[in-house]
Protein backbone atom coordinates (compact mmCIF):
# COMPACT_ATOMS: atom_id res chain seq x y z
CA UNK A 1 0.00 0.00 0.00
CA UNK A 2 2.82 2.31 0.96
CA UNK A 3 4.41 1.80 -2.49
CA UNK A 4 1.09 2.45 -4.23
CA UNK A 5 0.72 5.74 -2.40
CA UNK A 6 4.35 6.65 -3.09
CA UNK A 7 3.87 5.84 -6.77
CA UNK A 8 0.64 7.86 -6.95
CA UNK A 9 2.23 10.84 -5.22
CA UNK A 10 5.29 10.80 -7.49
CA UNK A 11 3.15 10.30 -10.57
CA UNK A 12 1.11 13.45 -10.01
CA UNK A 13 4.34 15.47 -9.93
CA UNK A 14 5.62 14.07 -13.23
CA UNK A 15 4.08 17.06 -14.92
CA UNK A 16 4.31 19.67 -12.19
CA UNK A 17 2.83 22.50 -14.20
CA UNK A 18 -0.25 20.56 -15.24
CA UNK A 19 -0.86 19.29 -11.70
CA UNK A 20 -0.42 22.76 -10.27
CA UNK A 21 -2.85 24.23 -12.80
CA UNK A 22 -5.44 21.58 -11.96
CA UNK A 23 -4.92 22.03 -8.21
CA UNK A 24 -5.20 25.79 -8.72
CA UNK A 25 -8.52 25.40 -10.52
CA UNK A 26 -9.88 23.39 -7.57
CA UNK A 27 -8.35 25.89 -5.15
CA UNK A 28 -10.11 28.80 -6.82
CA UNK A 29 -13.33 26.82 -7.07
CA UNK A 30 -13.31 26.02 -3.34
CA UNK A 31 -12.33 29.58 -2.48
CA UNK A 32 -15.00 31.17 -4.68
CA UNK A 33 -17.78 28.85 -3.65
CA UNK A 34 -16.86 29.11 0.05
CA UNK A 35 -16.76 32.90 -0.27
CA UNK A 36 -20.07 33.00 -2.11
CA UNK A 37 -21.75 30.59 0.31
CA UNK A 38 -20.33 32.42 3.31
CA UNK A 39 -21.69 35.72 1.98
CA UNK A 40 -25.09 34.18 1.30
CA UNK A 41 -25.32 32.40 4.63
CA UNK A 42 -24.02 35.49 6.44
CA UNK A 43 -26.84 37.53 4.92
CA UNK A 44 -29.40 34.87 5.80
CA UNK A 45 -28.11 34.63 9.35
CA UNK A 46 -28.41 38.38 9.67
CA UNK A 47 -31.94 38.29 8.28
CA UNK A 48 -32.92 35.52 10.67
CA UNK A 49 -31.14 37.27 13.52
CA UNK A 50 -33.10 40.46 12.87
CA UNK A 51 -36.32 38.49 12.70
CA UNK A 52 -35.63 36.16 15.62
CA UNK A 53 -33.49 38.17 17.96
CA UNK A 54 -34.95 41.60 17.50
CA UNK A 55 -38.54 40.83 16.70
CA UNK A 56 -40.32 37.52 16.86
CA UNK A 57 -38.04 35.19 18.80
CA UNK A 58 -37.85 31.56 17.65
CA UNK A 59 -41.49 30.86 18.56
CA UNK A 60 -44.52 32.72 19.75
CA UNK A 61 -47.69 31.68 21.51
CA UNK A 62 -50.75 33.68 20.46
CA UNK A 63 -54.45 33.62 20.66
CA UNK A 64 -55.31 31.37 17.70
CA UNK A 65 -56.56 34.13 15.36
CA UNK A 66 -53.99 36.73 16.26
CA UNK A 67 -51.48 36.17 13.46
CA UNK A 68 -54.20 36.46 10.79
CA UNK A 69 -55.69 39.51 12.41
CA UNK A 70 -53.16 41.38 14.51
CA UNK A 71 -55.61 43.18 16.73
CA UNK A 72 -55.54 43.81 20.47
CA UNK A 73 -58.96 42.18 20.46
CA UNK A 74 -57.23 38.86 19.70
CA UNK A 75 -55.27 39.02 22.92
CA UNK A 76 -55.32 36.70 25.91
CA UNK A 77 -55.01 37.03 29.68
CA UNK A 78 -51.61 37.16 31.31
CA UNK A 79 -51.31 33.83 33.11
CA UNK A 80 -48.19 33.35 35.21
CA UNK A 81 -48.94 29.63 35.67
CA UNK A 82 -48.97 29.13 31.88
CA UNK A 83 -45.69 31.03 31.58
CA UNK A 84 -44.17 28.92 34.36
CA UNK A 85 -45.34 25.77 32.63
CA UNK A 86 -43.56 26.84 29.45
CA UNK A 87 -40.46 27.79 31.40
CA UNK A 88 -40.36 24.36 33.02
CA UNK A 89 -39.18 22.97 29.67
CA UNK A 90 -35.36 22.90 30.09
CA UNK A 91 -34.81 23.71 26.43
CA UNK A 92 -36.74 26.97 26.64
CA UNK A 93 -34.43 29.83 27.58
CA UNK A 94 -36.91 32.66 27.83
CA UNK A 95 -40.63 33.35 27.83
CA UNK A 96 -41.28 36.99 27.09
CA UNK A 97 -44.72 38.57 27.42
CA UNK A 98 -45.66 41.27 24.94
CA UNK A 99 -48.63 43.41 24.06
CA UNK A 100 -48.21 44.63 20.51
CA UNK A 101 -50.24 47.12 18.54
CA UNK A 102 -49.99 49.72 15.81
CA UNK A 103 -50.75 53.38 16.03
CA UNK A 104 -50.01 56.83 14.81
CA UNK A 105 -47.08 58.53 16.50
CA UNK A 106 -46.93 62.26 16.21
CA UNK A 107 -45.07 65.27 17.40
CA UNK A 108 -45.94 68.77 16.29
CA UNK A 109 -47.12 68.63 12.69
CA UNK A 110 -45.46 65.30 11.97
CA UNK A 111 -47.09 61.89 12.09
CA UNK A 112 -45.89 58.36 11.30
CA UNK A 113 -47.36 54.86 11.59
CA UNK A 114 -45.61 53.00 14.37
CA UNK A 115 -45.30 49.62 16.00
CA UNK A 116 -46.07 49.74 19.72
CA UNK A 117 -44.43 47.08 21.88
CA UNK A 118 -45.61 46.75 25.45
CA UNK A 119 -42.76 44.93 27.17
CA UNK A 120 -41.41 43.82 30.54
CA UNK A 121 -38.14 45.79 30.21
CA UNK A 122 -35.78 43.51 32.13
CA UNK A 123 -37.08 40.37 30.38
CA UNK A 124 -37.28 41.86 26.88
CA UNK A 125 -33.69 43.01 26.91
CA UNK A 126 -32.54 39.47 27.68
CA UNK A 127 -33.65 38.51 24.16
CA UNK A 128 -33.13 41.65 22.14
CA UNK A 129 -30.40 43.37 24.15
CA UNK A 130 -32.21 46.65 23.48
CA UNK A 131 -30.94 48.15 26.74
CA UNK A 132 -27.47 48.11 25.17
CA UNK A 133 -28.69 49.74 21.98
CA UNK A 134 -29.78 52.96 23.64
CA UNK A 135 -27.90 55.78 21.94
CA UNK A 136 -29.43 58.57 23.96
CA UNK A 137 -31.19 58.71 27.33
CA UNK A 138 -31.95 55.57 29.31
CA UNK A 139 -33.75 52.29 29.03
CA UNK A 140 -37.24 51.73 30.44
CA UNK A 141 -37.66 51.07 34.17
CA UNK A 142 -40.07 48.57 35.73
CA UNK A 143 -42.91 51.05 36.23
CA UNK A 144 -41.97 53.58 33.60
CA UNK A 145 -44.66 55.74 32.02
CA UNK A 146 -42.39 56.94 29.24
CA UNK A 147 -41.27 55.38 25.95
CA UNK A 148 -38.11 54.35 24.17
CA UNK A 149 -38.31 55.04 20.43
CA UNK A 150 -36.30 54.16 17.38
CA UNK A 151 -33.62 56.57 16.24
CA UNK A 152 -35.21 56.85 12.78
CA UNK A 153 -38.61 57.67 14.26
CA UNK A 154 -37.06 60.25 16.58
CA UNK A 155 -35.32 61.93 13.68
CA UNK A 156 -38.48 61.88 11.56
CA UNK A 157 -40.60 63.35 14.32
CA UNK A 158 -37.75 65.67 15.35
CA UNK A 159 -37.95 64.38 18.90
CA UNK A 160 -35.25 64.59 21.53
CA UNK A 161 -34.98 63.20 25.04
CA UNK A 162 -37.80 64.17 27.38
CA UNK A 163 -39.87 65.56 24.47
CA UNK A 164 -43.45 64.37 24.38
CA UNK A 165 -44.62 61.75 21.92
CA UNK A 166 -48.32 61.54 21.14
CA UNK A 167 -49.79 58.18 20.18
CA UNK A 168 -53.25 57.69 18.78
CA UNK A 169 -54.63 54.19 18.20
CA UNK A 170 -57.58 51.89 18.62
CA UNK A 171 -57.48 50.02 21.91
CA UNK A 172 -59.14 46.90 23.24
CA UNK A 173 -62.73 46.40 22.04
CA UNK A 174 -62.57 49.46 19.81
CA UNK A 175 -61.91 52.11 22.42
CA UNK A 176 -60.02 55.12 21.18
CA UNK A 177 -56.68 55.43 22.84
CA UNK A 178 -54.63 58.57 22.81
CA UNK A 179 -51.78 59.35 25.10
CA UNK A 180 -48.78 61.55 25.71
CA UNK A 181 -45.52 59.85 26.60
CA UNK A 182 -42.18 61.38 27.51
CA UNK A 183 -39.26 60.06 25.47
CA UNK A 184 -36.94 58.34 27.97
CA UNK A 185 -34.53 56.98 25.49
CA UNK A 186 -33.67 56.63 21.83
CA UNK A 187 -32.56 53.30 20.44
CA UNK A 188 -30.56 52.45 17.34
CA UNK A 189 -32.44 49.35 16.29
CA UNK A 190 -30.60 46.69 14.25
CA UNK A 191 -33.54 46.43 11.87
CA UNK A 192 -33.66 49.64 9.82
CA UNK A 193 -37.39 49.10 9.32
CA UNK A 194 -38.10 48.89 13.06
CA UNK A 195 -35.66 51.71 13.69
CA UNK A 196 -38.02 53.96 11.75
CA UNK A 197 -41.18 52.87 13.57
CA UNK A 198 -40.62 51.20 16.92
CA UNK A 199 -42.04 52.45 20.21
CA UNK A 200 -41.28 50.45 23.36
CA UNK A 201 -43.30 51.05 26.50
CA UNK A 202 -43.59 49.21 29.78
CA UNK A 203 -46.20 46.43 29.64
CA UNK A 204 -48.51 47.83 32.32
CA UNK A 205 -48.35 51.31 30.78
CA UNK A 206 -49.22 49.82 27.40
CA UNK A 207 -52.08 47.75 28.84
CA UNK A 208 -53.49 50.88 30.50
CA UNK A 209 -53.06 52.92 27.32
CA UNK A 210 -54.88 50.36 25.17
CA UNK A 211 -57.51 49.61 27.80
CA UNK A 212 -56.37 46.02 27.76
CA UNK A 213 -55.87 45.29 31.43
CA UNK A 214 -53.78 42.15 32.08
CA UNK A 215 -53.84 41.33 28.34
CA UNK A 216 -51.04 40.05 26.13
CA UNK A 217 -50.91 39.51 22.38
CA UNK A 218 -47.93 37.16 22.43
CA UNK A 219 -45.54 35.14 24.49
CA UNK A 220 -42.18 34.97 22.80
CA UNK A 221 -40.64 31.55 23.45
CA UNK A 222 -36.92 31.53 22.90
CA UNK A 223 -34.56 28.59 22.55
CA UNK A 224 -30.89 28.15 21.66
CA UNK A 225 -31.15 27.66 17.90
CA UNK A 226 -33.19 26.40 14.97
CA UNK A 227 -32.47 22.74 15.71
CA UNK A 228 -33.72 23.01 19.29
CA UNK A 229 -36.65 25.04 18.00
CA UNK A 230 -37.84 22.23 15.75
CA UNK A 231 -37.80 19.80 18.64
CA UNK A 232 -39.54 22.13 21.11
CA UNK A 233 -42.03 23.34 18.51
CA UNK A 234 -43.22 19.81 17.86
CA UNK A 235 -43.74 19.29 21.56
CA UNK A 236 -45.49 22.62 22.13
CA UNK A 237 -47.77 22.12 19.14
CA UNK A 238 -48.99 18.90 20.67
CA UNK A 239 -49.33 20.38 24.15
CA UNK A 240 -50.81 23.80 23.49
CA UNK A 241 -54.51 23.63 22.77
CA UNK A 242 -57.03 26.14 21.43
CA UNK A 243 -57.64 29.01 21.95
CA UNK A 244 -53.84 29.25 21.84
CA UNK A 245 -51.54 28.46 19.01
CA UNK A 246 -47.78 28.25 18.76
CA UNK A 247 -45.90 29.39 15.67
CA UNK A 248 -42.26 29.22 14.65
CA UNK A 249 -40.51 32.25 13.23
CA UNK A 250 -40.59 30.45 9.86
CA UNK A 251 -44.38 30.25 10.01
CA UNK A 252 -44.66 33.86 11.13
CA UNK A 253 -42.25 35.13 8.49
CA UNK A 254 -42.75 32.83 5.47
CA UNK A 255 -41.56 35.55 3.12
CA UNK A 256 -38.15 35.55 4.83
CA UNK A 257 -37.91 31.78 4.50
CA UNK A 258 -39.00 31.95 0.87
CA UNK A 259 -36.51 34.68 0.10
CA UNK A 260 -33.71 32.68 1.68
CA UNK A 261 -34.71 29.49 -0.11
CA UNK A 262 -34.95 31.12 -3.55
CA UNK A 263 -31.68 32.93 -3.06
CA UNK A 264 -30.04 29.72 -1.84
CA UNK A 265 -31.31 27.89 -4.93
CA UNK A 266 -29.71 30.56 -7.13
CA UNK A 267 -26.45 30.04 -5.26
CA UNK A 268 -26.64 26.30 -5.76
CA UNK A 269 -26.98 26.78 -9.53
CA UNK A 270 -23.99 29.13 -9.58
CA UNK A 271 -21.90 26.67 -7.57
CA UNK A 272 -23.01 23.78 -9.74
CA UNK A 273 -21.80 25.66 -12.85
CA UNK A 274 -18.52 26.45 -11.11
CA UNK A 275 -18.02 22.84 -10.07
CA UNK A 276 -18.89 21.51 -13.52
CA UNK A 277 -16.19 23.74 -15.02
CA UNK A 278 -13.70 22.50 -12.42
CA UNK A 279 -14.81 18.89 -12.96
CA UNK A 280 -14.05 19.15 -16.67
CA UNK A 281 -10.64 20.61 -15.82
CA UNK A 282 -9.80 17.68 -13.56
CA UNK A 283 -11.26 15.21 -16.02
CA UNK A 284 -9.14 16.64 -18.84
CA UNK A 285 -6.01 16.30 -16.72
CA UNK A 286 -6.83 12.72 -15.79
CA UNK A 287 -7.52 11.80 -19.42
CA UNK A 288 -4.20 13.29 -20.47
CA UNK A 289 -2.41 11.43 -17.68
CA UNK A 290 -3.90 8.16 -18.82
CA UNK A 291 -3.25 8.75 -22.52
CA UNK A 292 0.40 9.66 -21.90
CA UNK A 293 1.08 6.66 -19.69
CA UNK A 294 -0.79 3.97 -21.58
CA UNK A 295 2.38 2.22 -22.61
CA UNK A 296 3.69 2.35 -19.06
CA UNK A 297 0.45 0.77 -17.81
CA UNK A 298 0.96 -1.97 -20.38
CA UNK A 299 4.45 -2.60 -19.02
CA UNK A 300 3.29 -2.66 -15.41
CA UNK A 301 0.56 -5.18 -16.17
CA UNK A 302 2.97 -7.22 -18.29
CA UNK A 303 5.50 -7.54 -15.51
CA UNK A 304 2.85 -8.72 -13.07
CA UNK A 305 0.86 -5.84 -11.62
CA UNK A 306 -2.81 -6.69 -11.30
CA UNK A 307 -5.10 -4.23 -13.10
CA UNK A 308 -7.05 -3.69 -9.87
CA UNK A 309 -3.90 -2.52 -8.12
CA UNK A 310 -3.04 -0.17 -10.97
CA UNK A 311 -6.61 1.14 -10.94
CA UNK A 312 -6.26 1.93 -7.22
CA UNK A 313 -3.04 3.87 -7.88
CA UNK A 314 -4.76 5.97 -10.53
CA UNK A 315 -7.73 6.53 -8.25
CA UNK A 316 -5.39 7.68 -5.48
CA UNK A 317 -3.67 10.04 -7.94
CA UNK A 318 -7.04 11.62 -8.75
CA UNK A 319 -7.83 11.89 -5.05
CA UNK A 320 -4.45 13.48 -4.35
CA UNK A 321 -5.13 16.21 -6.90
CA UNK A 322 -8.62 16.79 -5.47
CA UNK A 323 -7.48 16.78 -1.85
CA UNK A 324 -4.58 19.15 -2.56
CA UNK A 325 -7.02 21.56 -4.21
CA UNK A 326 -9.50 21.24 -1.35
CA UNK A 327 -6.89 21.70 1.38
CA UNK A 328 -5.27 24.69 -0.30
CA UNK A 329 -8.72 26.22 -0.94
CA UNK A 330 -9.73 25.73 2.69
CA UNK A 331 -6.37 26.95 3.98
CA UNK A 332 -6.93 30.30 2.29
CA UNK A 333 -10.73 30.62 2.53
CA UNK A 334 -10.90 29.84 6.25
CA UNK A 335 -8.75 32.73 7.54
CA UNK A 336 -10.05 35.04 4.82
CA UNK A 337 -13.67 34.43 5.77
CA UNK A 338 -12.94 34.62 9.49
CA UNK A 339 -11.49 38.05 8.80
CA UNK A 340 -14.44 39.05 6.63
CA UNK A 341 -16.91 37.86 9.26
CA UNK A 342 -15.26 40.22 11.74
CA UNK A 343 -15.28 43.02 9.20
CA UNK A 344 -18.47 43.02 7.12
CA UNK A 345 -18.18 44.96 3.87
CA UNK A 346 -20.14 48.23 4.10
CA UNK A 347 -22.39 48.98 1.15
CA UNK A 348 -22.76 52.48 -0.16
CA UNK A 349 -24.96 54.52 -2.46
CA UNK A 350 -28.06 53.08 -4.08
CA UNK A 351 -27.32 49.53 -2.95
CA UNK A 352 -27.15 50.63 0.68
CA UNK A 353 -30.41 52.54 0.31
CA UNK A 354 -32.09 49.56 -1.30
CA UNK A 355 -30.94 47.29 1.53
CA UNK A 356 -32.25 49.72 4.13
CA UNK A 357 -35.56 50.00 2.28
CA UNK A 358 -35.90 46.24 2.57
CA UNK A 359 -35.21 46.48 6.28
CA UNK A 360 -31.65 45.21 6.28
CA UNK A 361 -28.41 46.71 7.44
CA UNK A 362 -26.33 47.97 4.48
CA UNK A 363 -23.49 45.51 4.96
CA UNK A 364 -22.26 42.32 3.34
CA UNK A 365 -22.17 39.87 6.19
CA UNK A 366 -20.18 36.64 6.16
CA UNK A 367 -20.81 33.40 7.95
CA UNK A 368 -18.09 31.08 9.20
CA UNK A 369 -20.38 28.17 9.99
CA UNK A 370 -18.35 24.94 9.66
CA UNK A 371 -20.91 23.51 7.20
CA UNK A 372 -19.89 26.11 4.64
CA UNK A 373 -16.35 24.76 4.46
CA UNK A 374 -17.43 21.19 4.93
CA UNK A 375 -19.95 21.51 2.10
CA UNK A 376 -17.28 22.71 -0.37
CA UNK A 377 -14.84 20.05 0.77
CA UNK A 378 -17.42 17.28 0.45
CA UNK A 379 -18.70 18.55 -2.93
CA UNK A 380 -15.25 18.67 -4.50
CA UNK A 381 -14.22 15.41 -2.88
CA UNK A 382 -17.35 13.66 -4.15
CA UNK A 383 -16.69 15.13 -7.60
CA UNK A 384 -13.09 13.89 -7.48
CA UNK A 385 -14.22 10.43 -6.43
CA UNK A 386 -16.66 10.35 -9.36
CA UNK A 387 -13.95 11.47 -11.79
CA UNK A 388 -11.59 8.90 -10.23
CA UNK A 389 -13.89 6.14 -11.43
CA UNK A 390 -12.95 6.88 -15.04
CA UNK A 391 -9.24 5.94 -14.81
CA UNK A 392 -10.21 2.88 -12.80
CA UNK A 393 -12.59 1.66 -15.47
CA UNK A 394 -10.11 2.57 -18.23
CA UNK A 395 -7.38 0.57 -16.45
CA UNK A 396 -9.54 -2.49 -15.93
CA UNK A 397 -10.26 -2.50 -19.67
CA UNK A 398 -6.62 -2.23 -20.75
CA UNK A 399 -5.39 -4.91 -23.15
CA UNK A 400 -1.71 -5.44 -22.41
CA UNK A 401 -0.61 -5.84 -26.00
CA UNK A 402 -2.46 -2.74 -27.20
CA UNK A 403 -1.20 -0.70 -24.26
CA UNK A 404 2.38 -1.79 -24.99
CA UNK A 405 1.93 -0.43 -28.49
CA UNK A 406 0.53 2.75 -26.98
CA UNK A 407 -2.90 2.32 -28.55
Amino acid sequence: MHTNIKLAWRNIWRNKRRTLITVASIFFGVLLSAYMTSMQEGSYSKMVEIVVKFYSGYMQVHQADYWENKSVNNSFDYDQAFIDQLKSNPEIDLVIPRLESFGLASAGELTRGSAIFGIVPEIETQLTGIADKIVSGKYLQATDDGVVIGDGLARFLKLSLNDTLIIITQGYHGVSSAGKFPVRGIIKHVSPELNKSIIYMELKTCQNFLGAENKLTSLVVNVADNDVMRKVLKKLKSEIQAPFSVMSWEEMQPEVVQQIESDRAGGVIMKAILYIVIAFGIFGTIMMMIAERRREFGVMISIGMQKKKLAVILFVETLFIGVLGILSGLAVSLPLLLLQAQNPIPLTGETAKLMEDFGFEPFMFFSTAPEIFLQQAISVFAMTVLIGIYPMVATLRIKEIKALHGT
Binding site: M300, S302, I303, M305
Partner: protein, 232 residues
Protein backbone atom coordinates in the same frame (compact mmCIF):
# COMPACT_ATOMS: atom_id res chain seq x y z
CA UNK B 1 10.61 -29.65 -15.90
CA UNK B 2 10.28 -25.99 -16.73
CA UNK B 3 9.87 -26.40 -20.45
CA UNK B 4 7.96 -24.39 -23.00
CA UNK B 5 5.85 -26.37 -25.41
CA UNK B 6 4.16 -24.78 -28.39
CA UNK B 7 1.97 -26.74 -30.77
CA UNK B 8 0.33 -25.61 -33.99
CA UNK B 9 0.35 -21.99 -32.86
CA UNK B 10 -1.50 -19.59 -35.15
CA UNK B 11 -2.11 -15.89 -34.98
CA UNK B 12 -4.20 -14.46 -37.74
CA UNK B 13 -4.99 -10.79 -38.25
CA UNK B 14 -7.96 -9.95 -40.42
CA UNK B 15 -6.80 -6.95 -42.37
CA UNK B 16 -9.54 -5.67 -44.73
CA UNK B 17 -10.95 -9.15 -45.25
CA UNK B 18 -7.49 -10.50 -46.05
CA UNK B 19 -6.12 -12.99 -43.54
CA UNK B 20 -2.59 -12.17 -42.46
CA UNK B 21 -0.74 -15.00 -40.74
CA UNK B 22 1.55 -13.51 -38.09
CA UNK B 23 2.22 -17.05 -36.86
CA UNK B 24 1.37 -20.03 -38.98
CA UNK B 25 1.46 -23.44 -37.33
CA UNK B 26 4.48 -23.00 -35.06
CA UNK B 27 5.66 -26.10 -33.18
CA UNK B 28 8.45 -25.68 -30.67
CA UNK B 29 9.91 -26.99 -27.43
CA UNK B 30 12.33 -24.97 -25.35
CA UNK B 31 14.11 -26.72 -22.51
CA UNK B 32 14.96 -25.31 -19.09
CA UNK B 33 18.10 -23.17 -19.00
CA UNK B 34 18.29 -22.53 -22.74
CA UNK B 35 19.75 -19.30 -24.11
CA UNK B 36 17.75 -18.98 -27.30
CA UNK B 37 17.54 -16.31 -29.97
CA UNK B 38 14.59 -15.98 -32.31
CA UNK B 39 15.63 -14.25 -35.46
CA UNK B 40 14.03 -13.31 -38.72
CA UNK B 41 13.23 -10.32 -40.90
CA UNK B 42 10.80 -7.61 -39.84
CA UNK B 43 7.24 -8.91 -39.90
CA UNK B 44 8.35 -12.50 -39.59
CA UNK B 45 6.41 -12.91 -36.33
CA UNK B 46 9.22 -12.75 -33.73
CA UNK B 47 7.58 -10.22 -31.43
CA UNK B 48 4.15 -11.79 -31.89
CA UNK B 49 5.62 -15.13 -30.90
CA UNK B 50 7.28 -13.66 -27.80
CA UNK B 51 4.05 -11.90 -26.84
CA UNK B 52 2.19 -15.21 -27.12
CA UNK B 53 4.76 -16.92 -24.89
CA UNK B 54 4.39 -14.13 -22.35
CA UNK B 55 0.59 -14.34 -22.41
CA UNK B 56 0.41 -10.73 -23.53
CA UNK B 57 -1.51 -11.65 -26.66
CA UNK B 58 -4.00 -14.41 -27.37
CA UNK B 59 -3.36 -16.93 -30.16
CA UNK B 60 -6.03 -17.57 -32.78
CA UNK B 61 -5.47 -21.27 -32.29
CA UNK B 62 -2.89 -23.65 -30.95
CA UNK B 63 -1.43 -24.67 -27.63
CA UNK B 64 1.13 -23.03 -25.38
CA UNK B 65 2.29 -24.71 -22.20
CA UNK B 66 4.82 -23.02 -19.94
CA UNK B 67 6.21 -25.11 -17.12
CA UNK B 68 3.20 -27.36 -17.45
CA UNK B 69 0.60 -24.57 -17.40
CA UNK B 70 -1.52 -24.11 -20.51
CA UNK B 71 -1.56 -20.32 -20.47
CA UNK B 72 -4.29 -19.82 -23.07
CA UNK B 73 -6.74 -21.28 -20.55
CA UNK B 74 -5.89 -18.72 -17.85
CA UNK B 75 -8.08 -15.70 -17.12
CA UNK B 76 -6.61 -12.22 -17.47
CA UNK B 77 -5.97 -11.97 -13.73
CA UNK B 78 -4.50 -15.49 -13.54
CA UNK B 79 -2.21 -14.69 -16.47
CA UNK B 80 -0.89 -11.60 -14.72
CA UNK B 81 -0.27 -13.67 -11.59
CA UNK B 82 1.42 -16.35 -13.68
CA UNK B 83 3.68 -13.81 -15.35
CA UNK B 84 4.58 -12.26 -12.00
CA UNK B 85 5.90 -15.56 -10.67
CA UNK B 86 7.22 -17.24 -13.80
CA UNK B 87 8.22 -14.79 -16.52
CA UNK B 88 10.57 -11.84 -16.61
CA UNK B 89 10.39 -9.29 -19.42
CA UNK B 90 13.09 -7.17 -20.98
CA UNK B 91 11.77 -4.65 -23.48
CA UNK B 92 13.50 -2.92 -26.35
CA UNK B 93 12.76 0.52 -24.90
CA UNK B 94 13.72 -0.54 -21.31
CA UNK B 95 10.32 0.60 -20.00
CA UNK B 96 11.37 1.29 -16.45
CA UNK B 97 8.91 3.10 -14.21
CA UNK B 98 10.17 6.67 -14.51
CA UNK B 99 9.17 7.84 -11.04
CA UNK B 100 11.02 5.03 -9.29
CA UNK B 101 14.76 4.79 -8.73
CA UNK B 102 16.83 1.89 -10.11
CA UNK B 103 16.56 0.15 -6.74
CA UNK B 104 12.81 0.76 -6.48
CA UNK B 105 12.24 -0.49 -10.02
CA UNK B 106 13.92 -3.78 -9.19
CA UNK B 107 12.26 -4.04 -5.80
CA UNK B 108 8.83 -3.25 -7.24
CA UNK B 109 8.35 -6.74 -8.67
CA UNK B 110 9.11 -8.33 -5.33
CA UNK B 111 6.68 -5.97 -3.63
CA UNK B 112 4.03 -7.22 -6.03
CA UNK B 113 4.98 -10.71 -4.88
CA UNK B 114 4.63 -9.60 -1.24
CA UNK B 115 8.18 -10.61 -0.41
CA UNK B 116 9.47 -9.43 2.99
CA UNK B 117 11.43 -6.20 3.04
CA UNK B 118 14.73 -7.75 4.11
CA UNK B 119 14.60 -10.29 1.26
CA UNK B 120 13.64 -7.60 -1.25
CA UNK B 121 16.48 -5.34 -0.25
CA UNK B 122 19.17 -7.99 -0.22
CA UNK B 123 18.11 -9.41 -3.60
CA UNK B 124 17.80 -5.96 -5.15
CA UNK B 125 21.27 -4.99 -4.04
CA UNK B 126 22.71 -8.32 -5.17
CA UNK B 127 21.09 -8.01 -8.62
CA UNK B 128 22.17 -4.41 -9.10
CA UNK B 129 25.68 -5.45 -8.14
CA UNK B 130 25.58 -8.28 -10.64
CA UNK B 131 24.51 -5.97 -13.45
CA UNK B 132 27.25 -3.52 -12.45
CA UNK B 133 25.05 -0.73 -11.11
CA UNK B 134 26.41 -0.54 -7.61
CA UNK B 135 26.35 3.10 -6.55
CA UNK B 136 23.55 3.98 -8.99
CA UNK B 137 20.75 2.44 -6.91
CA UNK B 138 19.12 5.76 -6.15
CA UNK B 139 19.23 7.16 -9.68
CA UNK B 140 15.99 7.54 -11.54
CA UNK B 141 15.87 6.17 -15.11
CA UNK B 142 16.27 9.60 -16.69
CA UNK B 143 19.65 9.89 -14.95
CA UNK B 144 20.90 6.60 -16.40
CA UNK B 145 22.30 5.85 -19.86
CA UNK B 146 20.44 3.50 -22.22
CA UNK B 147 22.80 0.67 -21.35
CA UNK B 148 22.40 1.25 -17.64
CA UNK B 149 18.62 1.38 -17.97
CA UNK B 150 18.61 -1.91 -19.84
CA UNK B 151 20.75 -3.45 -17.11
CA UNK B 152 18.21 -2.28 -14.53
CA UNK B 153 15.52 -3.83 -16.74
CA UNK B 154 17.42 -7.14 -16.69
CA UNK B 155 17.76 -6.95 -12.92
CA UNK B 156 14.05 -6.21 -12.69
CA UNK B 157 13.22 -9.16 -14.96
CA UNK B 158 15.23 -11.46 -12.69
CA UNK B 159 14.06 -10.02 -9.38
CA UNK B 160 10.99 -12.25 -9.17
CA UNK B 161 13.18 -15.36 -9.68
CA UNK B 162 11.37 -16.22 -12.91
CA UNK B 163 11.81 -19.49 -14.75
CA UNK B 164 11.83 -17.70 -18.11
CA UNK B 165 13.03 -14.33 -19.34
CA UNK B 166 11.56 -13.03 -22.58
CA UNK B 167 13.62 -10.25 -24.13
CA UNK B 168 12.28 -8.40 -27.15
CA UNK B 169 15.14 -6.78 -29.08
CA UNK B 170 16.97 -5.98 -25.83
CA UNK B 171 20.06 -4.57 -27.54
CA UNK B 172 18.34 -2.60 -30.30
CA UNK B 173 18.96 0.76 -28.64
CA UNK B 174 22.40 0.02 -27.23
CA UNK B 175 25.89 0.73 -28.45
CA UNK B 176 28.42 -2.09 -28.97
CA UNK B 177 30.03 -1.81 -25.57
CA UNK B 178 26.71 -1.77 -23.73
CA UNK B 179 25.44 -4.66 -25.84
CA UNK B 180 28.52 -6.74 -25.10
CA UNK B 181 28.28 -5.93 -21.43
CA UNK B 182 24.56 -6.72 -21.23
CA UNK B 183 24.95 -10.03 -23.06
CA UNK B 184 27.72 -11.10 -20.71
CA UNK B 185 25.53 -10.27 -17.73
CA UNK B 186 22.59 -12.23 -19.14
CA UNK B 187 24.77 -15.20 -20.05
CA UNK B 188 26.22 -15.20 -16.55
CA UNK B 189 22.75 -15.06 -14.95
CA UNK B 190 21.55 -17.80 -17.27
CA UNK B 191 24.40 -20.02 -16.10
CA UNK B 192 24.20 -19.11 -12.42
CA UNK B 193 20.43 -19.11 -11.93
CA UNK B 194 19.54 -21.57 -14.70
CA UNK B 195 16.94 -19.13 -16.04
CA UNK B 196 15.72 -19.79 -19.58
CA UNK B 197 16.39 -16.77 -21.81
CA UNK B 198 14.52 -16.25 -25.08
CA UNK B 199 15.40 -13.27 -27.22
CA UNK B 200 13.84 -11.90 -30.32
CA UNK B 201 16.58 -10.05 -32.13
CA UNK B 202 18.11 -8.72 -35.31
CA UNK B 203 21.44 -8.28 -33.62
CA UNK B 204 24.19 -10.60 -34.80
CA UNK B 205 26.05 -10.16 -31.48
CA UNK B 206 23.07 -11.65 -29.67
CA UNK B 207 22.85 -14.44 -32.22
CA UNK B 208 26.54 -15.17 -31.65
CA UNK B 209 26.00 -15.51 -27.91
CA UNK B 210 22.87 -17.66 -28.21
CA UNK B 211 23.22 -21.40 -27.85
CA UNK B 212 20.14 -21.99 -29.99
CA UNK B 213 18.86 -19.90 -32.88
CA UNK B 214 15.36 -20.23 -34.25
CA UNK B 215 14.59 -18.46 -37.49
CA UNK B 216 11.10 -17.34 -38.33
CA UNK B 217 9.82 -16.24 -41.69
CA UNK B 218 6.22 -15.43 -42.60
CA UNK B 219 5.11 -16.80 -39.26
CA UNK B 220 6.79 -20.18 -39.73
CA UNK B 221 9.93 -21.67 -38.25
CA UNK B 222 12.30 -22.19 -41.13
CA UNK B 223 15.31 -23.25 -39.09
CA UNK B 224 16.13 -24.27 -35.56
CA UNK B 225 19.87 -24.52 -34.97
CA UNK B 226 21.77 -25.46 -31.79
CA UNK B 227 25.07 -23.68 -31.04
CA UNK B 228 27.15 -26.77 -31.46
CA UNK B 229 26.57 -26.56 -35.19
CA UNK B 230 26.49 -22.75 -35.47
CA UNK B 231 29.23 -21.30 -37.68
CA UNK B 232 31.58 -19.13 -35.53
Amino acid sequence: MNVIEVKQLEKIYNDSEVKVYALNGVDLRIEEGEFTAIVGPSGSGKTTFLNMLGGLDQPTSGFISIGGTEISKLSSSELIHFRLHNIGFVFQAYNLIPVLTAKENVEFIMQLQNKPKSERESRTMALLKEVGLEGRENSRPNKLSGGQQQRVAVARALASKPKFVLADEPTANLDSKSTENLLEIMEELNRKENVTFIFSTHDQRVVNKARRVITLEDGKIISDVRKAILPQ
